[in-house]
């Protein structure tokens, strides 16, 4: 079955050609990926990033932005590699949500 991300050749509508600036957090996600994949031994590979992005369901894939997908895939890979624990990530997310007053 065709995976949702593999949409080459399908009708896509108009292409957005405008330039745009990146948000600070987007630059940080990009830098994080470079730091994790550029060291030896690496902590993740770009192919692992892609596998975890491509594993997203259609609804999640379409609702997330480009760097949101990266962020999701980096977290998944670091859990799969044993670099971070699930509980560690959960606690840090809760800490940040409390700090920022998120729901």
């Amino acid at each position: 079955m065709r995976s949702h991300h593999d949409m080459g050749g399908l009708p896509a509508g108009r292409c957005e050609r405008d330039e745009h600036d990146y948000e600070q957090w987007e630059k940080r996600v990009d830098a994080l990926m470079m730091l994790l994949s550029g060291r030896k031994p690496d902590l993740m590979k770009v192919d692992e990033l892609r596998r975890n992005i491509e594993a997203l369901g259609p609804a999640a894939y379409d609702s997330m932005g480009y760097y949101e997908r990266w962020m999701h895939a980096i977290a998944q890979t670091l859990i799969q590699r044993g670099v971070i624990s699930i509980d560690e990530l959960g606690r840090k997310l809760a800490e940040l949500e409390a700090r920022d007053g998120a729901a």
């Binding site: 995976s3 593999d6 080459g8 050749g9 993740m44 192919d47 692992e48 491509e54 799969q80």
Partner: protein, 101 residues
Amino acid sequence: MARREAVPPRFAAGDRVRVRRADPPGHVRTPWYCRGRVGTIERLCGAFPNPEELAYNRSGLPAQPLYRVRFAATELWPDYREHPGDAVEIEIYQHWLEAAP
């Protein structure tokens, strides 16, 4: 990368090849729309660790030859009529290709 760790190339420029109609899980770089289609080897691009294996943090060795394969647009999309001479070139790893008559 050491040459001995690469699979030898089976195809040369001008060879006709068919893309395997396979559907493995994980990270696959062979686009869906060219699977099962026939194209022509345009050139060999080198040999690279198999990204399908790298996606699971394995070595991807021996490296797989990677080819630029040229497809007629009408082979990929039979109802494509606007510019019948158009072609699409896709980079495809050797383990996805079979010799085509």
